[in-house]
């Protein structure tokens, strides 16, 4: 990094970024995605084989079926499920990260395209996140790959940063995804008679608390908290989403953006049953992208020290046992 480059980049947008951000997403995003997939993978024969209901091939261009992929035999579906779990866990642990993340991304893309009925934001966004991990130097630190490399070459310097695009992609995606969500909420639907989007009118958030996503926590809140509180939270959410580029673009506002975002997704996870995995995935992206670097560094250094101590301890006791 040169002074010249810094002068050219008053906002530091294209400066190298701390590797902790990328590695945090690499460790935890696959776990949130696998958590979402788990309830589907245990019934994989009902998902992508003819044992379950499959949507027949649609003729012509159809947003619901962008690509027809025929069902597979049960043995192949089981193989896909096992490969998805193994590659996802390997990506999270950082074991042969390039291969693991490439395979995981390809399988996620297949699973999302093969069946519209089980495609949600988590596995569509998840595919893109894992692909971004695949094309980044993920696993260069805080991974099994890094640990093995350090054992082979103890003098080799450990990377501390990655090129800007490897982290900025997640940060910009998150901010503009919120903005898009805010615009969708703020704009009237083509069929609507309203001049503004529904989220400008009271009780829109309230209206989503009453279906099969309802949890005991949702019911407790809906039954005990005055509706005005939901309306307040609704307007705050709208302002948060519409203002996301500001909350995350202005350094001083970033802590607010982070805390509000984490609280919002925690509420979503608690109140909308199966949406918990989406909430966790977004929290991982938020935390990895915008948490203070000191928190991420402390987390990794503490966890890494414990893991490597344990690994060193078990390998020395194994060696001792072998000698005896």
């Amino acid at each position: 990094m040169s002074d010249h480059a810094t002068a050219r980049e008053p906002w530091g947008f294209t400066l190298p970024q701390p590797i902790e951000r990328l590695e945090f997403i690499r460790v935890f995003a696959p776990l949130a995605i696998l958590g979402f997939l788990s309830s589907r993978l245990v019934h994989v024969e009902h998902w992508i084989t003819r044992v379950g209901f499959v949507v027949p091939e649609r003729l012509g261009s159809d947003y619901r079926q962008p690509l027809y992929i025929p069902p597979v035999p049960v043995w192949l579906a089981v193989l896909v499920a096992v490969a998805t779990v193994v590659s996802g866990l390997a990506t999270s642990l950082g074991y042969r990260t390039r291969w693991a993340s490439g395979i995981f991304a390809a399988l996620l893309a297949y699973l999302a395209l093969a069946d519209r009925l089980e495609a949600f934001t988590v596995n569509k966004l998840g595919t893109v996140i894992v692909f971004a991990i695949f094309v980044a130097p993920a696993g260069a630190r805080f991974s099994i790959d890094a640990w093995l490399r350090a054992k082979r070459q103890p003098e080799a310097p450990l990377p501390t940063h990655v090129h800007w695009g490897n982290v900025r992609f997640f940060q910009v995606l998150l901010a503009l995804m919120y903005l898009g969500s805010g615009i969708a909420k703020a704009s009237p639907d083509a069929d609507s008679t309203r001049s503004l989007g529904d989220w400008f009118y009271p009780n829109t958030m309230w209206s989503h608390l009453h279906d099969s996503y309802q949890t005991p926590f949702t019911y407790f809140l809906a039954a005990s908290v005055p509706a005005v509180a939901f309306n307040l939270f609704q307007y705050l959410t709208l302002a948060y989403e519409l203002g996301a580029p500001i909350w995350f673009g202005v350094r001083r506002l970033r802590p607010f953006g982070l805390v509000f975002g984490l609280a919002m997704h925690a509420s979503i996870g608690l109140m909308f049953g199966p949406v918990v995995w989406f909430a966790l995935l977004m929290m991982v992206l938020l935390f990895g992208s915008f948490a203070p670097l000191a928190w991420l560094t402390r987390f990794f250094e503490t966890a890494w020290a414990k893991i490597t101590e344990t690994a060193a301890g078990s390998s020395s006791s194994l060696a001792k046992a072998a000698r005896e």
Binding site: P18, S181, L293
Partner: protein, 214 residues
């Protein structure tokens, strides 16, 4: 690696930063990195555009400009992630099925065992199939076939057709006590809350019954 030095984000001064950072090389040649950067920027732009409720109109022709005119649908599919709960729910919607036997009236089928993935919530494949395809006859016919086959393999009473319907249950008014959500039998819902989306015609049911019992 010095812990203190790595905390700078981004490194500000050459004197402090230059010796302290080591950049992990990104995989692939430079041209590939540039291409991936452009692809990433285009992806994010598409996510934003896809979230817009109404596509802009072209000058002159007035035709709506859609991204699917230029971006292949399988790619565009992965950009459709930001439009989350954009409207108020006017009803609580549930989907149900009724079986049509050879003799006697229609009766409710519990289809949850045939759709074990998230069988008790709206992420069930049955609910999703009706959500997306309830007006698409070929898909509804395939769903009919699937449910009739599965039910007749397991049920004591044979059916030769089905009726697929939605329930539109009013949202409780804020401030008025309301019961917790639970799945109730179809008969508990008044007729005006039911909307039939697909039904095997009586003629087809009768014909199938004649074929079964000549």
């Amino acid at each position: 690696m010095g812990r203190k030095a790595r905390r700078s984000e981004p490194p500000k001064k050459k004197k402090d930063a230059a010796p302290s950072i080591a950049i992990a090389p990104s995989p692939g040649p430079h041209w590939l990195r540039v291409a991936l950067g452009i692809a990433g920027a285009l992806y994010i732009a598409c996510v934003l555009i896809e979230a817009m409720p109404n596509a802009p109109r072209a000058r002159g022709s007035g035709r709506r400009l859609h991204l699917y005119d230029v971006v292949p649908r399988p790619v565009l599919y992965f950009t459709q992630i930001a439009k989350l709960f954009p409207q108020a729910a006017t009803y609580r919607t549930e989907y149900r099925a009724e079986g049509l036997p050879c003799d006697g009236p229609a009766f409710e089928l519990d289809v949850r065992p045939f759709f074990p993935i998230h069988s008790d919530d709206k992420e069930s494949r049955f609910d999703r199939a009706l959500h997306f395809y309830r007006q698409d006859r070929p898909t509804m016919e395939a769903l009919e076939q699937y449910i009739v086959d599965r039910y007749n393999q397991s049920g004591a009473r044979k059916i030769e057709g089905i009726m697929l319907l939605s329930l539109r249950v009013p949202i409780p008014t804020p401030g008025i006590p309301f019961p917790r959500y639970e799945r109730a039998p179809l008969e508990d819902f008044p007729k005006e809350q039911r909307k039939v989306w697909y039904a095997t015609s009586r003629d087809v049911v009768d014909q199938r019954c004649r074929e079964v019992k000549p």
